[in-house]
Every structure is written in structure tokens, then in C-alpha cells.
Symmetry: C2
Subunit: 500 residues, 2 copies
Amino acid sequence: MSATPYKQLEQEWQRLHAFRGALALLRWDAAVMMPRGSADVRGEQLATLETEIHALLTTPKVSRLLDRAQASEGTLTDWECANLRQMRRQRDHAIATPASLVSSLARATSMAEVRWAEARQSNQFRIFAPHLEEVLHLVRDKAALLGQALGLSPYDALADEFTPGLRVVEIDTLFGAVSRRLPSLIREGIARQADSLPIPVAGRFSASKQKLLIAEIMKAMGFPFDRGRLDESEHPFTEGVAGDIRITTRIDSADPFTGLLAAMHEMGHALYDLGVPKEWATQPVARERGMAMEESQSLLVEMIVCRSRGFVTYLRPLLEKHFGVTGPEWEVDNLYRLLTRVRRSAVRVDADELTYPLHIMLRYDLEKQLLSGQLAIRDLPEAWNAGMEARLELRPGTDTEGCLQDIHWAHGFFGYFPSYSIGGAIAAQLFESLRGEVPDIDEQIARGEFAGLAGWLREHVHGLGAKLPLQALLKQATGKPLAAAPLLRYLEARYLEGAR
Amino acid sequence: MSATPYKQLEQEWQRLHAFRGALALLRWDAAVMMPRGSADVRGEQLATLETEIHALLTTPKVSRLLDRAQASEGTLTDWECANLRQMRRQRDHAIATPASLVSSLARATSMAEVRWAEARQSNQFRIFAPHLEEVLHLVRDKAALLGQALGLSPYDALADEFTPGLRVVEIDTLFGAVSRRLPSLIREGIARQADSLPIPVAGRFSASKQKLLIAEIMKAMGFPFDRGRLDESEHPFTEGVAGDIRITTRIDSADPFTGLLAAMHEMGHALYDLGVPKEWATQPVARERGMAMEESQSLLVEMIVCRSRGFVTYLRPLLEKHFGVTGPEWEVDNLYRLLTRVRRSAVRVDADELTYPLHIMLRYDLEKQLLSGQLAIRDLPEAWNAGMEARLELRPGTDTEGCLQDIHWAHGFFGYFPSYSIGGAIAAQLFESLRGEVPDIDEQIARGEFAGLAGWLREHVHGLGAKLPLQALLKQATGKPLAAAPLLRYLEARYLEGAR
């Protein structure tokens, strides 16, 4: 007897999974290892693989199998049904975007990423501008086509690709609630902290020692170094597939915290990848539940956990062990004040939790304007700087610290940024429930025990993969739909009451 | 007007080229970067891509286009005809080996390579044995199928895949001529050197300094570091495609020459990759003219050039610059004696030119016996050791220095080894002609000028890609067919007369 249509689909997706794994490695290498001059060659390789994936998704055979599997849905398990839904979704998205567009985008973004890095290094936006122009042009085509096929506005269509179901109207509601409270919260928080400013730390912290410290913490959190790596790259990221997960961070030898916290951010992503159901590893239902949920995990680990009093208690002796540092500036209270210091700054990845959403809202506004054509690429640096001034009362000193700071647009990732702050709200909501169910979570973390944290997340989030829609997953995990209130409660507790 | 059948084929092979480039990167990463535990994941990725390449080569569409292009061959240029021949050859080989076998081999060799490395590290052949067994089993199937399709014996069929046109009868003739002279030549050479043994060098030579020295020499030879890398791996290799070429070497911090000469060996391969005609870069005609020619280039650079008096004259001040070394052991005469020292040793990659062919002949005999079933895997270690004793009058101390020393069989590369010594003969024959046409080649090299060397090779070998059959290429470059005489003349001149 031959395999059922559904089982045949699983085999097709197993191939797709291998292609995606190869693509992930090609991208990791491009950011970490590849010689700069080889971007053109890599671009061709990425484009060819992307095109192949696209071709596999859009074959008549796959559509036929999807229809036949759908017809006998009654015989499938919950997980199989959810897997089938993910397959259909991928096929629908693929059919809506022609192969020529997919390969042009792969080629254009591959070049744009290299030029972005060069532009950043030499602080010359004009090196990047023509490449961003080309990427934007292609993304605009994609948004129009996807939007038409899915019955969505262009921006919604792009956002939906990253976080299924996320719409501008939801984003605006949540961002509205947050931005009504945030400016006063930032002012109050800064004023409160002014009474007891932290002593700054100083010294040289070699990259090799920092990586040893980070690796020790990653191990404590359960990162399997026999199936993963930690490296350095211009822009930290997590890449790979379950079974070979690669984290990068950016090390600053004058500061032991930048690299650590960037790695912890990525560790949040890695825990997600590690926690998806193993028996579904090659199938789409085992992937993360959209980018907002993905970012919630990195923010939960980096911001909520790794800047807590508990974590700092665990970290203090490790800093002494790896860097030999002692003194009042290395005591728990001071370290906590350092890691929760609120300061308006130009760079998103260095921003604290309170000001972070303002960075996101700026990008969200600008990318909508770029997409609609309201804002021209050449005017981006100035629009960026003006937006920073309006929101954060400062102007970046250079474009490198301004509109060149993020790789996302070079990558073609328009519609991604909101997922960060939606993710921040999800993180706070999840952690509020986690704390309710694991009351000694802070003490566990202070002892360097992360099984309680990882276990709760695995049970309520990671282990479910993409089985449930985002809102249903959140409701099941926390009992409530997505809202801004838990985030605001959390921020007020930490920054106005100094709790945790 | 739509593209001609031939032009459509070029497009198909452009895709294949991108897939091959992705495969090359996946393999490079597996040897240099990948965490050990991820071999299973990588194995799936490699198998999927290999299968895809196989599927592309065997589509009815490609066969139809090949027939139609063949029919209008009269309208094609020389290069296009040669390209078409290479395409047909690839298609014929692919059709002869079923997809299931290709993917099983990819999976099996991917695991076998990891186990080989583990077995080598712990000197436990039994860790590797079952994986080698499986690889051998699959290679045997492949040899039978290929042989049947091409009308060749199983071994000839495998050898033909690496070096098109190479047959056991040719190998036996050349090996016969060489092995008649070699034993006495080795004895005489060793006796002659006994009169003035080199002073050994001692010290610690850090990996980072060694890599700087190697990189400086690679640059002088024309290696483009903006489009290539130098790294370390267990077994040195060259991987990648024109536009992103990656060399690895194995550094020994007690000896500054092992890593350098291994890198120079790979540099010979890299010069070939760099010299193929750029306008054909994505097409099969731009690939190297078989593995014997490929190995001739690495041996020419490592053995003939980089152990010459001229090269040592160039090297001496570089050693002083990078390692701060001076003294009689670092003088040109002594270095030359060190680098041309003849010693019977257990390890092929450390062997001198005189004893090297004996290492190859051992492997050639053993792999023929393994393939035919005359020799069982479990008896391999003993057969290896006995063969070493018979040929080189020594027994390896461990299997790591015995039958575990080479990755080739783990890789599934049976039928490859003869190409090394055929390559050695080709190298000597080419260099004899080169010296005739560039009489001051030694002085150029002594000045660190490699343009004369690279230019001659590019004109007579590299730039022709796979345009001509091996024998025709050699005839055109040297005026003579392949023979053992130039090799023996060269070895006698260096080891009995002490010239160059």
C-alpha cells in the first residue's frame, strides 16, 4: 500500500526542511565566515535554493496532495491537522509570489546585506542606498501581490508573513496603549534612578574570556554545544535548525555586558528552537509560532530574566571568576542598577526596556512610509533623525548610529519590527503567569537553575510549535488575550517600585 | 525567439553550479565549523542536495535538450562543444546511478567522516569499521552499475569518475615503470643524504604566527583573501567555487613546515580553481581536467616548487620575520636539506616525493581488494601494516598512523588514490616543459615572484578547464604523451645530483 496523501506531504516537507537547513547555513556563513568579495557567488546560491523551495511548494503535485489530505482530514490527529494547516499556508504564500520575484529578492538582499555592513563601517549611507532602493522596490511588489491574494493591505500582508494573524489595527491598538503611558513612565523612571546612579564598570574584557563566560551561562541554560555554536558577527542572530543551532553575538571588549546580553537575547530564540517537539522536527508545525512569539522569548530571557536581581545574583561570582573583578561596582545592587539603567539612546539593540518600544514605533512608522512611497530612500537619514528627536529627544551622531543600525531592511524584512514590541508585551504577559505558577522562580534563577524557567516555557509555548494560532496559544498559557496591561504592570513594578 | 537548446542547457547547469556551491559550503562547514553532534542533520542536507542535483541531471527535459543540442553541434564553438561533452558525461554518469543510491551514499559518507575523525582521535578502528563497511557496500553497488553502463570494470568505472579516461592498464604501466626504479632510488637517495644530514629545527611556532606566514606566501602567489579563506581542519582540503575558495591546513606548533607545505599543496589546487576561464565559471567545461591533473597541480606547487632551493631562498627571511629565528639550522642549505629529506615514514601526507608513490600503490592494491571482496574490512588494519612493511620496511605504531590516516574511503572515494601518483608524473612532465620555456623560473621563485609559474600553468593547463581530454592537454602542453620518464629524471636530478 502506498503512503497516504498526508504522509506523502510529510515527505515533501522533509526535503523542504533539508533545503531550509542548507539555506540557514549559507546565511550563517555569509554573516560569520564568508569573505566579503564572495557575496555575489553566495547570492546566486541563496537565490537558487530559495527558488527551488518555491518551486517545490508550488508544484501541482503538492496542491493535489493538499486537497486530497484535506478531504480526509477527519482521519488525522490534532497535530497532523495543524501541520496540514501550516503546509497550506506556506503553499498559499508561495503561490501568491512568483518565482522570479523570490529569486530577485534573494539576490538583491544578499548584495544589500554586504553593502549595509560596508556602509555601516564607513558611515556612508550612500553606499547602501541604491541597494536598499532595489530591495524596497521588490518588497513593494511582493506586498502588493501577497495582499491581493490574501485580501490584506500591503503592510498587513508583509506583517502576516512574519507573525500570522497580526494586523495593523492590532499593532496600533497595543502601541497606542503603550505610548500613552510610556513617556511619563520614562521620565519618572529616569528621575527615580537619578537618586542612586550606578558606579560604572571599567576595564578590558577580552573577547575570549567573554565568550567563556557566555558559554558557561548558555550551558547552564541548557544550550547543547555538541549541536550548536557561539560566534561573533556584526549583528547578533540565531540561525540553523534543531540539531545544529548557531548563536552569534557582538563583543565589546570595553564592556562585559553588551556581548552577554546580546547572547542571552539569542539564547531566548535558541531555547525556543530547542524546545519544539522533536518528533515533528522536520515538519512546519514544529516551527515557532510566528515572529512576535519568537521575539517574546528573546526579550523574556534578555530583558525580564537576565536583568533581574535574581540573575545578577547568579552572575556576580561568574564575573569575578572570569574577569577577576571585585569592588563596589561589581556588587549585586550596583550591577542591577547598571543593567536596568534607563537612558535615552540612539541604538535599538543597546536600548533599555522602557525606551525600546519607541525605537520600534519609529521603524514601524518609517517602513510604512517607505512602502507607501510617502518617504523616499534619500530622505530616510533625515526622517530617522527627526523621528528620534521627536520620540527620544536626541539625534544620532552618525548614520551608523542612525538609520544604518539594523540589518532588517537590507534583509528585505519590512513588517518585522512590530513583532519586537508585540513580543515584549507577550513576554510580560507570559512571565506574569509563569511567576504565578512557579513562585520561587527568582530564587531558582539566583542559584543558576534555569530548568523551572525553560520547563514552563517548553510546556506552554515551545513544545506546542505552531500548533495553535498565536492568540489561542496565549489564551491557553495565560488565561487572557494579548493586552498591554501586563507589560505596563511589569515596567511599573521594575522601574517605579524597584522590584525584582 | 526562445533560447537555443544549447543555451537552455547552459541555464540548467548554472542552477547546478549554485547547488554544487552550496554543497561545497556544507562540506567545508562540516569539516571546519560544524559541532560534532550535528552530523546527522548535515547528512540529511547533503543527501537532499545531492539527490536534487541527480534529479536535475536525469530529467527527460535535460536528455531532450542534450539530443537537440547535439543535433545542431555544427553551429557551436569549440568551447561550447566541449561544454556539451561535459554535460553529456555528467548526465550519463547520473543516469547510471539511481537516486536512492546517491542519497544513501551521501548519508553514509557524512556519518562515516565523523566516525573516522573520532576513530582517528582515539585510535580505535572499530569505531570507524561499521561505517566504512556500509560505505564500501554502497560504493560496490555504484561501481557495478557504472561499470555496466559504461562498459568498464568496476574499478575502472570508479577511477573514470575522478579522472576521465584513466584505466587500470594505464595505472599499472606507469606504476610498474616507477616501482622498478624506486626502491633503488630510495636507497641511493638516503645513502647520499646520510653524508650531510640536516640540523633539525626546534621551538614553538604558534598557530596564529604560522597562519600569518602562510597567508603572506599565499598572497604572493595570488590568493585573493577577499574571495577566499584559510582555516584549520583535521585533514587539509580545498573546497568552494571560483569566487569563494577555501583552503584548510593542519598546524603543528612544534614544526613550522607541516602546516605551510600542506597549505602550499592546497594552494596548487586553488591556483587551478582561480585559473579556469572566468567566462565559463558556472559551466562544466570550466572545471578541472580530472583529478590526476588536479593533483598534479598540488604536487607541482608543494613538492617541486616549495621544496626547491629557489623557494627556500625566498622562505628563509620570512621565517625570520614571522618567528624571529636565526642560526645555522635556518640557513638556506640546511632548510633545503630538511625539506628534501628522504625518510621512510608511516604517514602519506608527511611523506617525501621519493617514498610517496609507495604509499599510493599500497592504497591502490588494498582498495581493489576491498572492492572485489578479497579483503574484509576487519582485516584491513593488518593488511595495511603488512603492506607497509613489504613496501617501506616499517609498521605503523597505531591505526591512526595506519589505515585511519586518510579520509578518502570515509568519503566514498575509492578509485581516487592512483590520481595522486599519476598526478606526480604529470607534474614532473609539466615542470620539465615549463623550465624549458621559462629558464629563470628558479630565480623568479627565489625572489618571491610567482607570476611566471602561475602564468605558464594558466596558459597551458588552468585556462583550458576541461576543454581537452587529459592526454591531449598534456600533449599540447609538453609535446609528449604521459610517461614515467620525466618523473624519474626529476627525482634523479634532485635526489642523486642534488640539483635544485
